[in-house]
């Protein structure tokens, strides 16, 4: 079983979701799928080598991934609260109309 191919498929699914989906939550799920594919590739290669260093680096990658997820989720909630929608197209059109701009 070649998990490199599986991780590539996961990466392709995530990139497809990033390019086609317009809902903010789906974009976040796409980012999660990309991160899952990357970590799956990392684990497969690290276990094939048989050393624990790959797993140690992967745990660091998990921490980074969690921090990135936290930032994305915070931005997602703030943007949807500011513009009143979760659709990226509507958010862009509202930005073009000048809605939701912060007064300085």
């Amino acid at each position: 079983m070649d998990f490199v191919i599986v991780s590539i498929v996961m990466l392709v699914i995530g990139i497809y979701g990033l390019l086609t989906k317009r809902h903010l939550l789906k974009v976040f799920i796409s980012v999660e799928l990309i991160a899952t594919g990357a970590t799956l590739n990392f684990v497969t290669l690290a276990s094939a080598i048989g050393k624990g260093l790959g797993e140690a680096f992967l745990i660091l990658a998990f921490s980074t991934d969690t921090a990135v997820s936290a930032v994305i989720l915070a931005l997602l909630v703030v943007v949807s609260k500011k513009y009143g929608t979760s659709d990226i197209s509507e958010i862009v059109s509202k930005q073009d109309d000048g809605e939701g701009e912060v007064e300085v």
Partner: protein
Amino acid sequence: MILEVLSIGLIVTACLALFLDEAVYSIAALAGTFLCTALIYVLSGAIFVAIFQFAVGVGTLAILFLSGEMLSDKQTKKTSPRMTGGLIGAGVVLSLPGIFLSISGTSASTADVSFGDALWNLRGVDVILQGLVILMVALGIAIVLHERRNGGK
């Protein structure tokens, strides 16, 4: 054979997570993706990574459920008593394997591990830091929810 089934499940749940319209179902499918990933890690011999994947997945999914409920703007629906009873029964049934079954060899491997070994050699520091990260995420979401409840002032 198990790895093949898990990889198929991984891809299928990833597709479901991306293509289901309902946000909650989509997040549930993402939970299946995380579960399949953790099982693949276990079968690949990376036990610690599987544990981390499981912990991070649970934290991420809990916050995702909150965010999904906030972003979808659905009408709130009361849970019926029958549904609550079913959930309690399902919890009891799911707890039965943990009561009556045991995994051989797990207790012997952790019996003579000192705190220093657990902290440094078994990466306990990483577990603590990961817990802090998840706690920060939960606090951030709680602050955002509090701001939202106060009307965004």
